[in-house]
Symmetry: C2
């Protein structure tokens, strides 16, 4: 970890750059836990701004409930406050916090917070990215009535999400968009997909699809609706997506990444709309 | 971790009961790595026997290759030798080793070994278990031509496997058997399924199904074939499974767990065949 990364541990506070997780922690042995990540920014006066902290804390509660792991919200808020108070690097950073089921020998949940300066790959994605579509292996309705599949739960078990990113790179693209086995556009491995058709914006519904409820996407689409833009939640196929008037990936670190090509086919990019979307993501 | 658990770390050797993993290790942050586990036994003379070590090392190599993580096999063998040499607790234990992609700030793979005495829940499962069937959300052929879905790769991203175990417990059962969305029997969350029809034994094929290539199952079915028992790899539905003359879950720790009921329906148990299966699992 670079010296500029900060680490804090639930029950201990801010710690140095030493190992924090035991060998029998279920977060390591089974990816058994959940996490949140959001963007923070330190302004010229040294003040730290955190994007959507309450919404991220609420989503962690939902993920933990789906995993049957207890969350001590007051302890988490205190730990996040302590970590943020100790952070003063100017500019953007990613605040991430992870909750595991704890050790096999001691089922007290483990909590770890990191703050890391945002990397160049993340910020450059805001200029535009190419993507490939990848089959996610399940139908668009696979998660209805199957809570053990953890659809929409932001677990630490992200190996497939990262493998999809490597497959995209192998094909010369920057990122991927998952498609269900019945041909429905789902989400990116670490971002939501939003498309524009004419004056309407849309994204994939989360119910039954396993798609994560993206806080950045929800905030942007709420701002768009408040600005008079019709917003839909709809199941569309890849051909319909390819015919969209604009496509963006939305996530808490990159914020807004305009998609310039899918599977080698150019996607329409309207700079005016992308600038408008940026304002929606910023909530204004 | 109890005092009787041993921990060793790649590049360091046997260590004490202190944290071993950094906060930015991809094994924690993304479940991005793979693992192996096998049974060991210390006999009266203090000698350690390890089940199928070469086969487990070969499977780790395959998992790591699928994840594009380098494996230094000589270093792993030396570390496992060191851990085993330091272990002298009489009776059975589980040897587990985990390989992660390393830290976000330093992509040197992380390797951790643990040895833990086998627990009572594992040994009692050998007397018989009840199971429920759970939809796995994908078709039986979902993993053909989709390597990014990591079918058959023993990753650290096991959150769904553990959630399935909790769902089984919630329904009053000991374990689960995953079924594909098109109704095909796949595997248990942490074990292979073997069934008997008359004088034939069978299990689910691994090709395309995402089913892990179980070393315990392969060894047992090879021993059965050597004993003249016909062995099939076949796709069957749940009704066909329920009509089997015997069903067992096979895995490296529990070894052989006879299934006594599925979804509340009693399953035939033939003690003679279970004893025969035990001999096949032991390779004799």
């Amino acid at each position: 970890m670079s010296c500029s990364t900060l680490v804090a541990v639930l029950g201990r506070g801010v710690v140095g750059d030493a190992p924090v997780l035991h060998a029998d922690d279920l977060g390591l042995t089974r990816g058994d836990g959940c996490f949140e990540a959001t963007r923070i920014e330190v302004d010229e006066s040294g003040r730290v701004h955190v994007d959507h902290l309450d919404a991220h804390l609420a989503r962690l509660q939902r993920s933990a409930a789906a995993l049957a792991i207890d969350v001590d919200e007051a302890a988490w808020r205190a730990l996040l406050d302590e970590a943020l108070a100790a952070w003063s690097v100017p500019g953007e950073a990613v605040l991430r916090w992870m909750l595991t089921r704890g050790r096999e020998s001691d089922p007290t949940p483990t909590g770890v917070v990191t703050i890391t300066p945002i990397d160049a790959r993340t910020t450059s994605a805001r200029e535009g990215i190419t993507v490939v579509t990848l089959d996610r292996g399940h139908r668009a309705d696979a998660f209805a009535d199957a809570p053990w599949l953890l659809g929409g739960v932001k677990t630490l078990s992200y190996a497939v999400n990262l493998a999809a990113g490597r497959e995209a790179a192998r094909r010369g693209a920057d990122d991927a968009i998952f498609v269900s086995s019945d041909g429905i556009v789902l989400e990116a491995p670490r971002a939501a997909v939003v498309w524009r058709r004419g004056e309407r914006l849309a994204t994939t519904p989360t119910e039954g699809t396993g798609v994560l409820a993206s806080i950045t996407c929800d905030a942007a689409l709420s701002a768009a609706a408040a600005d008079g833009v019709p917003v839909d939640r709809e199941l569309i196929d890849v051909e319909t997506l390819l015919a969209a008037d604009g496509i963006w990936l939305l996530s808490s670190g990159r914020l807004l990444a305009p998609v310039t090509a899918i599977d080698g086919r150019a996607i329409a990019v309207d700079d005016g709309w992308t600038e408008r979307m940026r304002r929606f993501v910023r909530g204004r």
